[in-house]
């Protein structure tokens, strides 16, 4: 740990915001950082405590497990999605354990899932894509046809429009970051540009919408503006280098970078060009935002700039005062993240966090900030700004726009969509981390 590496000069690292947040430049030079950290806290005694004599453990004296054809993380790492009750009709959910991950990529097996009828067992030899409606020539493509087009790879996040909805509760729901923000994942997606295929069919210039539909049991559909379809939309076959997971759309899904997850239609089978939206249940009932006035916002597409701290986060226990790295993820459906700030005093003072490259548009950006916790209660927050100048709002600002939450629903309910406000994690004097409103 940091304290054991205390070194000579202790004056180079400056506190950049209240309650022990450290200058991000310190991260570039660990020696200086740890020196500063130790100096700031004045923690000295623990660092020099004598180590225990080393033992030779049983795993060093036996043969291990041979590699299986497909490996999963060690059970000791406790890598698991939280999964909703899938025995009942309705939406099946699985949430990404951000509190156990680092970096920017979500392992495919931990990608979030919202599926209303489970993953269909699609035979890739029989899967087809229909492009029709307002086109010069309706076309049908086999999966094998599609996979012969020039491919591209892009790292992009997908976030459910209802992610972070638990923050839309009268009182702070005590749950971990997986439950609160787990309907968000980031992958390297590989596939073909949608515009290539639409141009082949010949889009009627009067077409303004594209209805995208899946091949699953409920055959879910969404209306997508044609401008987005012709911009950066893709049909993707690979997720982090391997075939897209069944629950994420195998054998192929639509990718609409930055747009709400539900529009990135999984198990894609059909694209119909039209001059009006279809008003599907998923766009004119679900994924709408009911306001105080009784009117509701509809067609709220981009996942707006957002960040949250994954470590420390609710449910964790900090063992003692001293040096910690605050770490989290930031992202924007509008482009790149330009800045992440961290506060340890509930938003009164802010320090600039280090952003770990590559900082890509519409992808997760990992941020890090050195912190000397002095053992006093604090409230940690992060605030992201994107390259368009959009700043992550406070919860109170969102409430001012939309009205007070009307109840305290269960975690898996969706009382509000597009909740991108700042999250607040309280650390008490005993080091316990909890979810608060601040």
């Amino acid at each position: 740990m940091a304290r054991s590496r205390r070194t000579k000069s202790g004056n180079d690292v400056q506190q950049v915001a209240a309650n022990g947040l450290l200058d991000r430049r310190a991260l570039l030079s660990t020696g200086v950082l740890f020196a500063g950290a130790a100096a700031a806290t004045g923690v000295t005694g623990i660092a020099s405590a004598a180590a225990e004599p080393l033992a030779v453990e049983p795993w060093s004296k036996s043969i291990g497990v041979p590699p299986p054809p497909y490996a999963t993380p060690s059970p000791r790492a406790q890598m698991a999605r939280t999964v909703s009750d899938t025995s009942r009709p309705g939406t099946m959910q699985a949430r990404t354990p951000h509190h156990r991950l680092d970096g920017m990529i979500t392992p495919a097996g931990l990608h979030f899932v919202v599926a209303r009828a489970g993953a269909p067992d699609i035979d890739p030899e029989k899967h087809k894509l229909l492009i029709h409606g307002m086109v010069k020539q309706p076309l049908i493509f086999t999966l094998n046809d599609l996979m012969r087009y020039p491919m591209e790879s892009h790292i992009r996040f997908i976030e459910c429009g209802g992610n972070s909805a638990p923050l839309w509760s009268k009182t702070p729901i005590q749950a971990n970051v997986q439950a609160l923000h787990g309907l968000l994942s980031c992958s390297e997606w590989t596939g073909v540009r949608l515009s290539t295929l639409l141009e082949e069919a010949g889009v009627d210039p009067r077409a303004t919408w594209m209805i995208a539909e899946g091949a699953d049991g409920i055959t879910m559909q969404r209306s997508i503006p044609i401008a987005k379809a012709m911009d950066d939309a893709m049909i993707v076959f690979y997720q982090n280098g391997e075939p897209v997971m069944p629950w994420n759309g195998y054998p192929m899904r639509l990718l609409l970078p930055g747009y709400e997850g539900n529009m990135n239609v999984k198990w894609l089978r059909r694209l119909k060009l039209t001059d009006m939206p279809v008003m599907a249940i998923n766009e004119s009932r679900q994924y709408t935002l009911l306001l105080d006035s009784g009117k509701a916002w509809r067609f709220y597409y981009p996942q707006e700039v957002k960040s949250f701290i994954t470590r420390p986060s609710p449910g964790m226990q900090m063992p003692s005062p001293g040096y910690y790295e605050i770490s989290g993820v930031a992202y924007s459906g509008h482009g790149r993240v330009s800045k992440v700030e961290v506060s340890a005093d509930g938003g009164k003072s802010w320090g600039l966090a280090a952003m770990q490259g590559p900082v890509l548009p519409k992808a997760l950006t990992r941020f890090r900030m050195g912190w000397n916790w002095n053992g006093q209660p604090v409230v940690l927050q992060s605030r992201a700004t994107d390259e368009g100048g959009n700043v992550q709002p406070t919860r109170y600002k969102l409430i001012a726009e939309r009205g007070e939450p009307r109840g305290t629903p269960p975690v898996i309910a969706f009382p509000m969509e597009h909740v991108n406000c700042i999250s607040s994690w309280a650390v008490d004097a005993k080091g316990a981390v909890s979810h608060v409103y601040a």
């Binding site: 009709p89 309705g90 020539q137 309706p138 049908i140 599907a280």
Partner: protein, 177 residues
């Protein structure tokens, strides 16, 4: 990742993207007629486009509902493990706890037809005939008092249905996004 690696990574991405535009793309799409595509062309639009022939009444729908819907949506649409299907009018304004149902919230009757036909019943989607879908939708609308028990629902009469929350939405695209 080092700065050098970042640059190489970025260059690789842009080269790949460039190649896709530079090369003549293949044309593997096979022409298909609307007739041959009809089995998949099930979207029903709010202007009635896509509505099939057929008809049904609330009384016919009540029988289908009891057999195939009530186990999840409850007796007479009152809700169960799946949402209730009627009521909630007058709950949309704050601070009332909103109750969002077909009657209180859904803006178009065509939405109900489209969704029931493609996705219901949950354990056997697309098993209902068009007549059965019209009948089931008629029953749900009658539970909400939106049509009369004696009305017949078909592709013409469904377009005359006035949903209470038809004008309840503010579209952020294209005005905001």
């Amino acid at each position: 990742m080092s700065m050098l690696k970042t640059i190489i990574f970025a260059a690789a991405i842009s080269c790949t993207a460039g190649a896709a535009f530079a090369a003549d793309t293949p044309k593997f799409g096979k022409p298909i007629t609307d007739a041959d595509a009809s089995a998949w062309d099930i979207s029903v639009f709010p202007d009635g486009t896509g509505l099939p022939a057929g008809s049904g009444t609330p009384a016919q729908g009540a029988v289908i509902y009891a057999q195939k819907c009530a186990s999840c949506h409850g007796d007479k649409g009152q809700g169960g493990v799946s949402p209730r299907l009627f009521g909630g009018q007058g709950t949309l304004k704050a601070p009332t706890q909103e109750v969002l149902t077909v009657g209180s919230y859904w803006p178009y009757a065509t939405m109900v037809f489209d969704f029931v036909r493609r996705a219901m019943p949950w354990n056997a989607p697309k098993s209902l005939t068009n007549d059965e879908v019209y009948a089931t939708v008629a029953y749900i609308l009658s539970l909400n008092g939106i049509i009369k028990d004696t009305d017949v629902l078909n592709k013409d009469t469904i377009m005359k249905v006035q949903m209470p929350n038809r004008d309840g939405f503010i579209d952020l695209y294209p005005s905001k996004f």
